[in-house]
Amino acid sequence: MADTRILCVEPDESTRAAVIDELQTNLAALDPVFEARGSLTAAETVLEARAVDCLITEYDLPDGTGVELIDRARTLSPDAGGILFTTASYDTIDTTGFETTVTEYLAKDAPQAIERLAQVVRTTVTRRSQTSYPLPRDEPDRIAALRTYEFDAEGLRHSLERLTDLAARHFDLSGAEVNVIEKHRQETLSAHGAAATRESTDRDASICTFTILEDDGVLVVEDVHDDPRFEARGHEFEARGVRSYLGAPLVSSTGFVIGTVCIYAEEPRTFSQADEAFLQDVATVAMDLIEVHSHLAHQAAPPTATEPDDAGGDT
């Protein structure tokens, strides 16, 4: 599965073909997969089918605007970088209603426009510079580390489910999870409570994606409605049964934070230092289980290839 997907939306067919042809040459090192469409509606069909890393679009589309399209893309691929590659000048671009979309911009008729577009696409994709959350400084190594584990190893998820059940019972809370934080998504390995039927969440909509930024400790959210990182989507979290949250990192034997153990409640609440220490112990045990089960799986069947990227998976 390709690691880099780029969607180019340009009404003029010959321009569209020329842009992709040039980008294929300039971005060969990324080995990207391109898709091309001529309208907002056609582009949405692509976005609904699979996630993209970068969306390049003309501003004036037959059925809408490029800003509108980038905004819609973010509901389907929240990490997608947006680049307006356009003949439209700033004073003709209407951002009303899309004030928080945020996009890159390059004028199509500028000198060396296509070379600059390639540079901006490269930065946008490799640096993932348009996410709405900070990335850990060791993100590429962290992703590489988590892909060395066999999360589908026999018995692992069952063991982790017992652990999340125990954690929920200990805290007398409605939810507990063990999650790994992939490139674009949070994958749930085990869950107690409402999340038991959920397999993954956009990283953009995950509290755990902030837990992995904590240097040594845990992340405490006493009330999502009173936390600047989450309050804008507080009702979304609440609908998932998450009003308060405590998360601890899963730290690999090589020192990378590959995921979290978290507990949460449907009401605002505080957590004591003893709660934090207990959850950190649970996280240590969860990581031990992942290490042991992966080791046994590797012994039974040595890994032969890199795990596929999560981009383009189940979004």
Binding site: V67, Y90, T95, F98, E99, T100, V102, L106, Q112, D227
Partner: protein, 224 residues
């Protein structure tokens, strides 16, 4: 491409070593006037006479910001300076030769980002020339926009600067925000330059996140 390095060696009153190209740095202080003045000093004193500067102002009207530049540094060639003015006091007749683009609203981060890209692209001559940039201030930006879209805007700008080997200084008043906002923002840039006034009135700075910079509080003198 000529890469942007902030070389403070000629400005011995500011005890910083070279800041490498592609770096973005918060310049943070509860005394935000000092943080702003230090960021301006770094941009002007640390650059060469040919380096374009792109200043985004959300708080201080562009004319006042340029006046401060003029006061801090004699012989500033303002034709190399561009300002994105998001304040509600758009300039009429500026006495400076800087290129000023007035947006009038800081809440439109999409419009601000597009304008930043357009002006950066122009100043960098399609990415071939280094551009030094400053945002004054992220704290004011956060008065008009939520944290998450602000992070997206800052990271997009930082990505552009990294991709063109520029330098970005983002001024912040940490005392205006809670610890969760500050600790999250600290992850967005490469480094954090803290500024404070010590009990004896001395200005002090320290840097985290960048190597070869003072990690302990170190006195400095703001250029007159």
């Amino acid at each position: 491409m000529r890469e942007a390095t902030l070389d403070m060696s000629p400005q011995r009153s500011i005890p910083l070593n070279e800041i490498p190209p592609g770096t973005t740095l918060f310049v943070a202080g509860a005394a935000v006037d000092k943080a702003r003045a230090l960021a301006l000093s770094l941009l002007f004193a640390g650059s060469t006479a040919d380096d374009p500067l792109l200043l985004t102002t959300i708080e201080t009207p562009s004319e006042a910001l340029l006046t401060q530049c003029d006061r801090l540094h004699s012989n500033v060639e303002f034709t190399r300076v561009a300002v994105i003015d998001c304040t509600d006091q758009p300039p009429e007749d500026s006495r400076f030769d800087a290129h000023i683009e007035s947006l009038g609203t800081p809440g439109d981060l999409t419009g601000l980002g597009i304008t930043f890209s357009i002006m950066h692209e122009h100043l960098s001559e399609a990415g071939s020339t280094r551009v030094l940039t400053g945002v004054f201030t992220v704290s004011t930006l956060l008065e008009h926009a939520d944290l998450r879209p602000t992070i997206r805007f800052l990271q997009t700008a930082a990505g552009r600067l990294e991709g063109t080997a520029g330098i970005g200084l983002f001024v912040l008043d940490p005392s205006a925000h809670d610890d969760r906002t500050v600790s999250t923002l600290q992850q967005v840039c490469d480094g954090w330059l803290a500024v404070r006034e010590a009990a004896d009135g001395t200005d002090e700075l320290r840097v985290s996140g960048l190597s070869n910079q003072p990690e302990e509080w170190t006195p400095f003198t703001m250029p007159e």
